[in-house]
């Protein structure tokens, strides 16, 4: 409709300009249309910001809030001489545990680690796990908990009589320091964080040297006219657009299957022999390495291209070889750009989920990874698994894990920005 009007307006202008009041009217109409669309453009911008806010608020909403708990045994009943469970010394705690669980289980605990060596916290934990046995009945979001507290308590009273309702932050220090558990109240992301760090370390070790090397080759050595070099360049641009899940399938077929002897650690005789297969940290790291390689190369090329050619010519003029010029002059001044690009690529790798599901992240790992040949899980995988569970409490765990992931990514990105600013200032003063 708007277009039609403009079309006729254009024809009029070509033929005969309206004059007088008609002209004035048209100007007013055009300006009105201009203002209306300006509002639409701003609304679009606002929609984007609202989406971002909704996303973040939704995660905060799920990370904190009231939960209703039913305990198998009320901790208050376990108090000894009026001293609550939380403050009892270790000896009392061991007695309580002995009184409430079977002798066989006690022997198993003793076998795993003698009670004499266990810490008070550890025994306290066991009591919570085996004796108190808290069960989450329901959870509420942060906003319900803040603004309609009354109805939260009323609902809990009505639907879960006898339950204990309290405010819980799902993101706590113990959430970060504890490993995975099938009990939502005791589950943590420790193994996932270690897994992510291991995988990313391998990703960087693999893709940074190769990516920078390729960028140097394409910018400093390659003759742009040669078909082979053009092919490499086009290929890199296309690789950057390949869906990440395809890389997962490449990793599954090559690293997990064909190179299984190497990626399972069997060729070194390390790795868990009973379950040795290629679904290890190193396979995941290499897969993500291939995934972010095009990003690192493209960013590296831009950084190297930005180095003024006078620098190179000065080097050549003093008789330096090609590599000397690159190593001593081009690379140092391109490094901030290369590092910034690398950090951004790494934050992409940290957030990747799909390729790692395909490569074969483990669904449940309670032990910290011990090296590149361990089975692994990573933060995004953990989030995915918790999200896929139907129970609300796992959604809350997923939200808390998302907060951990976002904080990690945010600090990485902030360091990239700081790095860039730092070097920019350094160059300005030099």
């Amino acid at each position: 409709m708007a277009l039609n009007q403009q079309e006729t307006a254009g024809q009029d202008a070509g033929g005969m300009m309206p004059s007088g009041p008609a002209y004035h009217e048209r100007v007013v109409a055009r300006q009105r249309r201009g203002r209306a669309w300006a509002v639409i453009f701003q609304a679009a911008m606002l929609a984007g910001i609202i989406a971002l806010c909704a996303l973040l608020l939704n995660i905060l909403n799920q990370s904190f809030g009231y939960i209703a708990i039913v305990n198998n045994i009320d901790p208050a009943e376990l108090a000894v001489d009026g001293v609550p469970l939380d403050r009892l010394p270790k000896d009392n705690l061991v007695e309580i545990l002995e009184a409430n669980v079977s002798a066989g289980l006690m022997r198993r605990y003793e076998h795993d680690m003698p009670f004499a060596e266990r810490s008070r916290e550890n025994v306290h934990e066991l009591i919570l796990e085996r004796v108190v046995e808290p069960q989450v009945q329901a959870t509420w979001g942060l906003f319900d908990s803040l603004f309609v507290r009354g109805s939260v308590f009323a609902e809990a009273e009505e639907r879960y009589p006898g339950s204990d309702v309290y405010f819980r932050s799902w993101l706590t220090t113990s959430f970060i320091s504890k490993s995975q558990s099938s009990e939502p109240l005791r589950a943590g992301v420790r193994t996932a964080i270690f897994g992510s760090l291991w995988v990313v370390a391998i990703t960087v070790l693999f893709s940074f040297p190769i990516g920078v090397g390729a960028a140097i080759y394409l910018e400093e050595y390659a003759h742009k006219e040669r078909v082979l070099n053009r092919l490499i360049q086009t290929n890199i641009n296309n690789l950057a657009g390949v869906p990440s899940i395809i890389y997962g399938m490449l990793g599954l077929a090559i690293f997990v299957r064909i190179l299984e002897v190497f990626t399972s650690g069997a060729f070194l005789g390390v790795g868990d022999q009973s379950t040795a297969n290629g679904r290890t940290i190193i396979s995941a790291g290499l897969t993500l390495g291939l995934l972010i390689l095009p990003l690192i190369i493209i960013n590296g090329q831009e950084a190297i291209r930005a180095v003024p050619s006078s620098l190179r010519q000065a080097g050549f003029g003093l008789g330096a070889t090609h590599w000397q010029v690159i190593w001593h002059h081009v690379l140092p001044s391109a490094m901030p750009g290369i590092l910034t690009g690398t950090i951004l690529a790494v934050s992409r790798a940290i957030g990747e989920t799909a390729p790692l599901v395909v490569v074969g992240a483990s669904t449940f790992i309670a032990l910290d990874p011990s090296g590149p040949f361990s089975k692994f899980t990573v933060l995004p995988i953990q989030i995915y698994q918790w999200t896929s569970r139907p129970q609300d409490e796992f959604r809350n765990l997923a939200a808390a894990a998302i907060l951990v992931l976002l904080i990690l990514l945010l600090s990485l990105n902030a360091s990239a920005v700081l790095l860039r600013n730092h070097f920019d200032r350094g160059q300005a003063s030099a």
Binding site: R30, F41, G48, G213, L218, Y221, A222, I246
Partner: protein, 299 residues
């Protein structure tokens, strides 16, 4: 003193090594093509499958040997279509706003906001789709209309995910249009809107079109959002409010379980992968071709 160029072994070795680094990217592509191709050939060589059934069938039930790709394709296209109806108008409007309307200060604040949106991992978007968008849709349209898992909410959230992609690529294209064109337009009495929509946008059309196509390719290849929010189990349906599994979602679900090599399930995900790869690759190539072919050069 001999000043002739000396052969330097070290230099040649370094150059050779750097060339290898560049060649790894080509090897990656060859690897992808080889792996996807090989497993797909094995897939189509098995007795239960042939190309006609694959591209003609409307039922994907590996358990009973039905391998018709259409349920997965329709779900993929539906989610992408919904994503595009969200992302293209909003992304383009944002780009026009940032490039033609926003003052520099506002722009310098808003651009990082969009970059944050672009930097959030897709699994977080998947969580957002399932725990926010789906309840929202069910609240608005009714719980019996909208299933818990549905392509609509996944599609909308994919749309939000690709808004920054569309807007930043389009904005780059719009800003590359020289200011003299705008000045000339203003000089002839055009309003800001007329300048933006009838002068700058047509001049930047190739870049904007390329952005749109890349966005489509990104939406088709998007995995985690659909894996979490769109549902498990192929379903030949055209209703966006029903659960349906996309190509990427299917690959993730099948490979997430215990998958034995050389089974037809294993081969089948590579056949889907090959289709996905060809689809996204041709879209990406198309977008590059459009940029090259239709770019307006202003010197």
């Amino acid at each position: 003193m001999d000043l002739r160029r000396k052969p330097r072994v070290g230099e040649s070795i370094i150059q050779g090594f750097l060339f290898l680094c560049g060649a790894i990217s080509v090897l990656t592509t060859l690897g992808i093509v080889y792996i996807l191709g090989r497993e797909s050939v094995l897939f189509f060589a098995s007795e239960e499958v042939n190309l006609l059934k694959f591209f003609g069938g409307t039922e994907w039930q590996p358990a009973i040997g039905r391998f018709g790709i259409w349920p997965l394709v329709t779900a993929t296209l539906m989610a992408s279509l919904i994503a595009m109806t969200v992302a293209l108008p909003i992304g383009l409007c944002v780009a026009i706003y940032l490039s033609e309307y926003a003052p520099d200060r506002t722009r310098s604040i808003l651009k990082p906001v969009l970059e944050i949106l672009a930097g959030i991992p897709t699994v977080v978007y998947g969580y957002f789709a399932l725990t926010f968008m789906t309840p929202l849709l069910r609240g608005i349209l009714g719980r019996d209309v909208v299933e818990i898992y549905n392509t609509a909410s996944a599609g909308i959230v994919i749309g939000i995910l690709v808004i920054p992609l569309v807007s930043s690529m389009s904005e780059d294209a719009l800003r590359a249009v020289p200011g003299t064109l705008r000045q000339a337009s203003y000089g002839l009495g055009a309003t800001r809107l007329e300048t933006a929509v009838r002068i700058v946008l047509p001049a930047a059309l190739s870049g904007v079109a390329a952005a749109f196509i890349v966005a489509i390719s990104r939406a088709i290849g998007e995995t985690m959002i659909v894996a979490i929010a769109a549902g498990a189990g192929p379903n030949f349906t055209f209703s966006p409010f029903r659960a349906a599994e996309t190509m990427t979602g299917h690959i993730v679900r099948i490979s997430g379980g215990d998958l034995s090599y050389d089974s037809i399930d294993y081969n089948s995900i590579f056949a889907i992968g090959l289709l996905l790869f060809l689809l996204t690759l041709s879209l990406n190539v198309l977008s590059q071709w459009i940029v090259r072919r239709f770019r307006e050069e202003y010197e």
